[in-house]
Symmetry: C2
Subunit: 124 residues, 2 copies
């Protein structure tokens, strides 16, 4: 899965924050689905990037970035993704939280823009 950083454009755009706890069931099926979904979402219109981390304890956070709400809704209704959602509900996840959020500002560092730029009378 994606361990690079997402190369997103200037805000605004949307983030889908998917926070989950894996079951111990069906590691092979989960890995295959996860790879297939990673490939599929990258071809999805309006997809901007993905960042994903899972710890040794099965706790994971994946953030997908999309151009707009329409792109998110279409991805949600994608046939392969709907099958993955069913697998997630039935056997792969003990629990998940999914949040859809509009990204308003973004910073990068330490080599890029400063995280805490000097005050210029401008709300960061």
């Amino acid at each position: 899965m994606a361990s690079e950083f997402a190369k997103t454009p200037e805000p605004p755009y949307y983030a889908v924050i998917f926070s989950s706890q894996r079951t111990e069931a069906d590691a092979a099926g989960y890995a295959a689905m996860s790879e297939a979904m990673d490939r599929a979402v990258r071809k999805h219109p309006g997809f901007l990037g993905i960042e994903s981390v899972r710890g040794a304890d099965g706790r994971g956070i994946t953030v997908g970035y999309f151009r707009d709400e329409a792109a998110i809704l279409a991805w949600r209704q994608h046939t392969g993704h709907q099958a993955a959602q069913r697998g997630g509900m039935e056997r792969w996840y003990n629990h998940y939280e999914l949040r859809v959020a509009k990204v308003e500002r973004a910073y990068a560092g330490p080599e890029g823009r400063a995280m805490d730029p000097p005050a210029k009378g401008k709300q960061p």
Copy 2:
């Protein structure tokens, strides 16, 4: 650090998505800072919750949830947090991306609300 799920209220509220790659430097100093910041942010006015995962490769995603922009700005200017930010820029992170986003909708599962509820003529 936080491996539970954040108990956030109904949207809207704000998410600070912090995606980072650790250096291999100063593991003890990083761990101490990380614990101290976890304790401090939980006492911060307007803090709603935190979810954090780091993989064996040093790639991490932490999402902090806050009531509003004012709470985020105040946390950014918190004295202990500013020292942590400097340590992060100087030695703990090879790279990070920080995004501030307004959470508009949230779902939980599989035991809670359905991720893909039946159509009721309501935009999910």
